[in-house]
Symmetry: D3
């Protein structure tokens, strides 16, 4: 049994404080158990050079751990003078995922930046960021009153892993550090896949296990999307 008493396919408690920030176009403070991420959306009237004159917009994400979000203090990347490989990898995943939820042509020549700052880390910060970013994006879109709504699909992500041979959903830090296989799934509200990143950290995995993780993830993502709907539509 899991230390937390959760069933293997049970999500942690999810809480969202929408519009947590005064200044951002959209924002929320989202927590999955002890993992807590502040997501903030900025709309800018310019696009990266490679899109100038294309009529299309862009979404990108940035991700950071606050120094004491972690058990052992994490040094500031501003002092080290560069972002780590892990940070790059995560913020590229978040950005790619969000691009699947937005119609960049409808957005027009504008850029959306989503900042995901981890206030507290207890496993699953990248998927929590995606789930929160989607809500912040929805809130921002409402506020911006664009003529054409570029926000096409709710999107959510969840981690699954194999711990002691068992497939588990929404791993906390302790489970994550013991996992033989660690996977992150991102899907649209339609159940279609946007991104899979599955890694045999201490072991390999087979097709059957992949399918089981996928099915487990789909169940979790479906529950998360219900929460997103309540906040954005309710």
């Amino acid at each position: 049994m899991r230390f937390s008493g959760r069933a293997n396919d049970e999500l942690r408690n999810i809480e969202v404080i929408p519009n947590y920030l005064e200044h951002a176009e959209g924002s929320c403070l989202i927590s999955f158990g002890n993992t807590k991420v502040l997501c903030a959306v900025t709309l800018e009237d310019k696009v990266p050079i490679f899109l100038k004159g294309s009529g299309k917009g862009w979404i990108t994400a940035e991700y950071a751990l606050l120094p004491r979000s972690t058990s052992v203090r994490t040094d500031r990347e501003s002092i080290k003078g560069k972002q780590s490989g892990r940070t790059h990898e995560i913020q590229r995943l978040i950005g790619r995922s969000l691009r699947a939820s937005i119609d960049l042509e409808l957005l027009g020549e504008r850029q959306i930046k989503v900042d995901c700052d981890v206030i507290q880390a207890d496993g699953g910060t990248r998927t929590t960021s995606i789930c929160g970013a989607c809500i912040a994006l929805g809130l921002a879109i409402k506020k911006m009153k664009l003529k054409r709504n570029p926000f096409q699909h709710l999107i959510a992500g969840i981690s699954c892993g194999i711990v002691d041979g068992e497939i588990m959903m929404d791993l906390d830090f302790l489970e994550d550090s013991q996992a033989e296989v660690d996977a992150n799934f991102v899907m649209l509200e339609t159940g279609e896949l946007v991104e899979i990143q599955a890694t045999g950290e201490k072991n390999v995995f087979n097709d059957k296990q992949l399918m089981e993780m996928l099915s487990c993830a789909r169940k979790g993502i479906s529950a998360i999307i219900e929460i997103q709907k309540k906040i954005l539509l309710g």
Copy 2:
């Protein structure tokens, strides 16, 4: 009259959530009106090179604005590859101030790092950081159960300024950007001065105005220290 309706020598509403973080040795989320800073204390069993073998400890502080703490998004210093001059100036002020509240000999060869991350900025982030850091420090000291308590004095800071010729306390962002003179005062609970930084941003000032700001600041700091006492001793 001030836009907020406050009297010239009236503080904004102060709220503190002590022990906001799971992992930090001590922490709080402190707000002065819309300014909101997350303060977190880390104790490390090593000191900077210049103190090795001295038997003395050290306190230092780091400060950062989250990207959407500000009205216009502030670029991440980790991406620019270095901390700005403003960041350096502020975190040096916070560190110097905290060193006045701790007996570095009693601390022994250990280092305390205080992280002040601005969640939302509406003027006075550096003095809010000092006030919150003092609370986080007090909470950490309690938790650490050191043989000898190195925490000697409560410490607090507040801004005063001259706006349209009138001396005002605890300026919000709007007032700060219109101020002719901008000053920050840091004092111990004894009322003694630890640091003054006073700048004629758009105008000069005379001795009388300095004394009036000082007296106004002392009043505010005294009220803040009462709040600190309630949290730490209550």
Copy 3:
């Protein structure tokens, strides 16, 4: 039909020049069609700090594009002063993959660094790097005559994608830039999975398509591993 005339599940022509470099412990120049990567193995008698005293070793990888490996010249990362997010993401993937082929306990407190420098890029540089790195690793292990052989499994990777609704293997640059879905699979010679990274670049995908790409990839990887065997055992 594919521009190159290949069948959808057909690999490009693979060529390997083993021991291409004089100085490296093991090396090869590997090409998949026009994609050409120089892989070089270095063995160092030290490990990263987090493994000191653990008795275990480490493998890590570094990846770079030579400036004119690409159609439009790519600026040097040494002049920009940092590695790009893409570089970080790729070299982390290569390193993680290789760790599945080596028994880090048998390696002992030593570190293997694998350099993958792309001489010419025409799609699939990250999976070509993994395939070449495995060969360079095998050649280095032979040369080093370690008491205990830490090299446990041949490993290979291949890209699959969905282009115009059709599943294709081993995409070249042109196909890659038109792909709706882009996936990279890494497997051991046993057929077990080590890593999946699948991304809906311009579209989403469903479970059936994932399974088809997986099956297609397994076919390609099996052929690549036969080539590796001939070089290393032949």
Copy 4:
């Protein structure tokens, strides 16, 4: 008594070589005792982005220690790849101070850069820089023959401190390193205050001591301004 034999409110010997450099629009080599700073003014026909189109100009300062200005060699910031926090703090102080002496509207859309390079450091380098920068600025303004003179006020700074309980002016390095309280004052020729930075390095201070330091500083600044006048008007 002070080691140098000076009275507590006595300045060190001040020497100025005006127009020390051939190329600069204005320059001087200024010394306060053994502290020696080279100040150079550059006028540029462009302003920072935030002032474009405003019709207003800008003054900014840069400060550096030459490697052997100090007793123990100071590493070059160009090799460390960034300016230190101390450097940032000091050059921001110099820049802010000089902005009080210039009417930025009269300057028009031009930028003045003042370089303060410390040839030899023996305490008080930041206030020596301000005093020398004012002279270099005055010399540059003369040379430039602008239609409207933007140079409004002579400005000077001096350090005061509390050493062994006694208030002293113009501390040298030895005194500075023993000081309990260290303060820097910047004033216009009118005696009005532009900036105060007072820090309890090893102790706190009270209002009376602040007033005494202020009065002591005013005496020193008045003497410095006489020297400035002789050079610029004589």
Copy 5:
């Protein structure tokens, strides 16, 4: 006698694979014995700021060692965050030399970048780079079919040194590390000098020795230029 059996004034075996790269405007893989350099030419339709509007073009070079080009692995400059002094020195030499072979006015407002990436290092990488860059340049010029040919002169470089009192040409790494004097000569096909860099690494040298090295170098350069001619004209 030399370890390799070569006569003191004998070049190593020179091999050139012209047009080694698909994407570059011109390229070659050139080897002098075990030293192997990949040279690639890029033509860009823009010039550095200092030439804008001048009607003149520019050539510049960049140089790097691949990590395992060397016997002991060389750390990547992209990870160290900057190019070393040695790299700067070498690429400036290559750039200056190439500017002697091109008429920058005939080139027009265009910039040529030549990348010299050392695949394997065994002494003489900078002169090998110059010799290969000249060939890559010639191949690029052919391909570009410019109205006016800016390529005026073949150019080549060679190292000479004094080892154990004897003057030797085209030193390999072992000889280079034992040399008392190390010199690099760059000449046009006319025999005229473009650049000399001569350094007494472990000893000084006199005019007679300089003349002998110069004459020895001229012989080698003349042979190299014959090879260049065969490739470019043959």
Copy 6:
């Protein structure tokens, strides 16, 4: 005729202020006409890693332009975050040259750092640095009273160039920017060569011109060494 009225083989006026700095082990402010360089020597009781345990010492040099040493202000390298290629090239030349004047075995496991900071630049800053560094080194050696004197030879450098077809010595900035060929020579007091760097900036040169420049340089260096002797021995 030269603009300055000098003969083609005539040095500029040379002035030296020995022991210009209080703190450095040895120092001088040296000027060749309007070129003015501050040279400072530091002795450190540690050597670079590659010499640890070798019993041998090391000399290295650092070079920088002060911002307004130049006619158009040169941006600080500390702000750009790195040293330029030109700076690297020059400080490597100075360091190599000085290593010819010192017996590194007699120096023992110690490192000498020579800082050459250009106060004013008017051509020839690198050779002026070498000449001044030699004097500062001699003064430092005297002061350090080492058992065995590692300082073996006086050393000096001078520039020669070809301007309008005429060979000239000790070029000022104007001459340097018009020179077809620019060469720097470094020699010991014995007249033996330590380093030659000769570049055809706008033209090539032949053996005869090289010999003439060499002979002209030897004449100048001989005069400079007389000046060095007077300062160090007088």
